[in-house]
Amino acid sequence: MTTPAEPYALPTEASVEVSAEEHQFNELIAADSRIEPRDWMPEGYRKTLVRQISQHAHSEIIGMQPEANWITRAPSLKRKAILMAKVQDEAGHGLYLYSAAQTLGTTRDEMTDALIAGKARYSSIFNYPSPTWADMGAIGWLVDGAAICNQVPLCRASYGPYGRAMVRICKEESFHQRQGFEILLELMNGTPAQREMAQDAVNRWYWPALQMFGPPDNDSPNSAQSMAWNIKRFSNDELRQRFVGMCVPQAEVLGVTLPDPDLRYNEETKEYDMGEIDWTEFHEVLAGRGPANARRLQRRREAHEDGAWVREAAAAYARKQAVRSKAVA
């Protein structure tokens, strides 16, 4: 037994200078209320949010690419229409999030510039290729499933505009996950080759999906502060565990095998024990050395540069119209 630490080791309230505004901020956080754009906030809180929300927005925008890859080759007109609706949603999610980040004083143009210059991060998951139609199923089921797990608690994030954007996004994501599940289920009810294709896609997406929750808690230095600020509500490992718990029975319905030989139910903890995640791979992909990083970024840069004349022409037209309507008035 160790003796408890002496209380004088802790700073007393009087010893820490807290401004009136900071005091109000702390009170709002303590009451689990919301911070709104024009409220005073610590610089670290603002920076954390800009980083997190813009990364999230970039992920949605880059995330359009692996699926857009299959729009022209979808197996039926219905599947094509669904896939287009889904990719359009991802674009919408990116825009909701850029809007939310913009209320913190960073413009969308600045965020886009950072992304195409390769200075901003986005979720490592979108740096994997999508070579088969079954990938559309596995992405919807596993990638969107993991995203939902991460995002539902973010609806209660302490920053008002972020939470509100997440509410909209979560409503739309559940369609994404269900349509992915349905694609896999149809393949699993199909020919042996189709079943094999579905299983192969699950094998490739399962581990990267688990990595979407971020590094393990003991290697996630910013998590504690984000949780103290009520931005994050659950730790990376908690959310990952919850996701695996949901995947197992769903995999049974599908008839696919999750590619983790160490995955088994632990009667004591009432949770699934899982195998070791390859964090070297995670860090490699995050550092830009994943299978599709260069391609994804180049595609985004080209789209932005190719669209420059449209943005400029529309702005010039708007200026001209404004001058004309003034002249008439």
Binding site: R38, A85, A100, D109, E172
Partner: protein, 102 residues
Amino acid sequence: MMSAPGTSEKEIWPLWEVFVRASRGISHTHVGSLHAPDASLAVRNARDLYTRRGEGVSVWVVPADAITTSDPDAKGAFFESPAGKNYRHASYYSKSEGVKHL
């Protein structure tokens, strides 16, 4: 006085705030913002961005820099007037308790 948060002169397309009427009988409610070169494209973008699932029967777009907001640093003083005036609420009047239709 300040305008809505997020506007910047540096951007090629200005920022617009979007308000959607969810159904007849309800006011337009703020749903978020978007970028557009002019008002008519802002309305179309608002339809595509905020009403993909029939969330609205009408949209308003307003240039974000045309909105004037109360000063956030003075919100205590600015909204002080109702404080202590609970006689403005029906619940202040307790003598009529038990009397019907009042």
